[in-house]
């Protein structure tokens, strides 16, 4: 029978088929762990006298709470320090590999899996974090789980799961200049809504998706959760294989050949049927920004702050009114006139080397606007080292930006990197919820290119506003192939 990509990966992991409302039991290939959602799971194991079944399929890293300055000093915030010390103790006690602060492979959990070559096509990947959907960029079935489920995977390496529905999101055509993967996903969310993907695994397809680098594919899959979906996937292809080849944990020799042969079968059969389908044309996608307090409240940068009075749907009108009040915005204001205090470049959505290279191309030879502070936070220590090897750090600091150590940082402000009440940010992260980046902080979600241009002008801007057609070195701004 014809099957979709998601169904193929699912079927390959069924340990036991459920019947009569009993869920399927699925095998988990890779379990990623971080300090915030794991302590009670380990505690539960201890209470029940259980062990971790497969420490060799488990990997932990420190990211949510870690400081991005002075990482060689003790962590100042006692609750953060306790969570991190707890993870270190648990990793030691249960024999789990942990990448701690100061290690080159410490960083955001969704960067560390791919960069080590652990995230591969056809795997099931879970983590106690909703943005686990990121790993779907490799053609893995990857989703976030709750703490009880973390404990369940630790103890059994499986999860009982009810099947998902499937949705195809096809993006045809070519992106215009200055638009990126981030703009694609923001446009998708604005189109289908923050609940549009509920109950679905999304599969991104089409020419515009195929031509994206792995970094850009990760950006798209990352935000599947903002569309309400449990997971997002992209079928693996030559781009995927090229990214993986030679990474520390990538298969080698005969294993590599066997893997690639299998991976090539991982795509939706031509006559397979999705439960839902959405089509977009990449040529219509402009640099996108959010104006409200959920990721679906977004518009092309050329637009104006919407007028809630013109919104027909009652719920959406009330939500828009409340959002504009929180955001301190007046209907009708051109989005380009909105001045920001902070530009945050980082997170598991857009803190990868390709993002940093794009930003550096805009920053090069320019200075930041006096009124903004600019934070550049790599998604992992390895990304930081790579950027430094390429000299990007000098470009950032010459521009007037702060160049930090790796972690989640201002994406959720669990560490000291927070917005002050009323402060406004252009942020390359994924959530613009009230207070997400600090109590009372106001967030506009943007692509790295928009963030960079905004840092130059001080108001929400695209690279087109700077008159940039291509980078100073002549290479195109939006790279489409992984380095």
């Amino acid at each position: 029978m014809a099957r979709t990509l998601a169904e193929k990966v699912w079927d390959a992991h069924v340990v036991r088929r459920g019947t009569d409302g009993v869920p399927d039991l699925l095998y988990i290939d890779l379990h990623l762990v971080h300090e915030v959602t794991s302590p009670q799971a380990f505690d539960g194991l201890r209470l029940a006298g259980r062990r971790v079944r497969r420490p060799d399929l488990t990997l932990a890293t420190e990211d949510h709470n870690t400081p991005t300055l002075d990482i060689d000093l003790p962590i100042a915030d006692p609750t953060s320090r306790t969570q991190i010390e707890t993870l270190r103790r648990n990793a030691e006690e249960f024999g789990i590999r942990l990448h701690s602060l100061g290690d080159a492979d410490q960083g955001i959990v969704h960067q560390v899996g791919p960069q080590l070559g652990l995230t591969m096509p056809g795997l099931t990947v879970v983590c106690g974090d909703s943005h686990t959907s990121t790993h779907g960029a490799f053609g893995a079935l990857a989703f976030g789980i709750g703490t009880s489920e973390v404990e369940h995977v630790l103890a059994t390496q499986t999860l009982p799961l009810q099947p998902f529905k499937t949705m195809a999101i096809t993006v045809d055509g070519t992106l215009p200049h200055g638009a990126t993967a981030k703009d694609i996903i923001l446009a998708i969310i604005a189109k289908i809504g923050t609940g549009g993907g509920q109950g679905y695994v999304l599969e991104y397809r089409g020419e515009a998706i195929r031509s994206l680098s792995m970094e850009a594919r990760m950006t798209i899959c990352n935000m599947s959760i903002e569309a309400g979906a449990r997971a997002g996937m992209i079928a693996p292809d030559e781009t995927t294989f090229a990214y993986l080849k030679g990474r520390p944990h990538a298969p080698e020799g005969a294993d590599w050949d066997a893997a690639v042969e299998y991976w090539q079968t991982l795509r939706t059969d031509d006559d397979a049927v999705f439960d839902a389908e959405v089509v977009l044309d990449a040529a219509d996608i402009e640099p996108f920004v959010t104006w409200g307090t959920n990721p679906g409240q977004g518009l092309p940068l050329s637009g104006r702050v919407p007028n809630p009075a013109e919104i027909g749907d009652d719920n959406q009108r009330v939500a828009a009114e409340r959002a504009l009040e929180y955001m301190g915005l007046t209907p009708g204001t051109p989005l380009r006139d909105i001045a920001v205090d902070t530009v945050f470049i980082g997170s598991c959505t857009n803190g990868r080397i390709e993002d940093l290279r794009q930003v550096a191309k805009v920053f090069q030879g320019r200075r930041k606007a006096d009124s903004v502070r600019v934070l550049v936070v790599p998604s992992s220590a390895r990304v930081r080292l790579q950027a430094e090897a390429e000299g990007l750090d000098r470009i950032f600091t010459d521009f007037g930006a702060e160049w930090r150590n790796a972690g989640c940082s201002m994406c959720l402000g669990m560490n000291p990197d927070q917005l002050a009440p009323g402060e406004r940010a252009a942020s390359t992260s994924n959530r613009n919820f009230e207070g997400r980046q600090g109590k009372g902080g106001r967030t506009h979600l943007v692509s790295p290119l928009v963030a960079a241009a905004t840092a130059v002008r001080g108001t929400l801007s695209s690279v087109g506003d700077l008159g940039i057609e291509d980078a100073p070195d002549g290479s195109p701004l939006t790279t489409t192939v992984s380095a």
Binding site: P55, D72, H249, P251
Partner: protein, 224 residues
Amino acid sequence: MEKFTQHTGVGVPLRRSNVDTDQIIPAVYLKRVTRTGFEDGLFSAWRNDPAFVLNQAPYATGSVLVAGPDFGTGSSREHAVWALKDYGFKAVLSSRFADIFRGNSGKQGLLAAQLAQEDIELIWKILETTPGTEVTVDLVNKQVRCADVTVPLQVDDYTRWRLMEGLDDIGLTLQHEGDIAEFEEHRASWRPRTLPAKHLPKVEVKAARAAGVPVEIGRPLPQN
């Protein structure tokens, strides 16, 4: 998980609807790293009020919470279930539960049983006229008994079976350990393992400093 067939304990009438998980346990308690000891956070905002039902002597030792409709709405935090359990509750009765709360309860061995709203009202009256009255929750016969009243309770068959067998999800899955081991035997060798760790050559990661503070090279990093 302990087996749950029948439980008898003091009933606590909580005459409120829409008790959300923030009211059951506020977010400040979520920073903890342990799984036990959440009883102090249970209904923490209301516990300062001497009139609150749990602050009245006959109810303080209660183990069956009789709540208004839409109990457990809001965030998905499992801490809400932990707090109720740690306080000593074995069952919560309501005419309607939030889905996620009900799911989390089942995972943790707390019975979330659905009763008709008029039966809840009936039990509330008994518990309020005679504080300290015990309520029997009988999962075998799907009944709740209180004084001379016997009313039916609803719970889905799968959850009921798991509670009566004392099987948490993990216990249940481990019954199929043979299937898991069998699956593992056929796992392709290219599928990744995190151990033994494979690394790129070791490199030093410099600590970033606040803007304006020079980066000092060579300071030792904390040991993992």
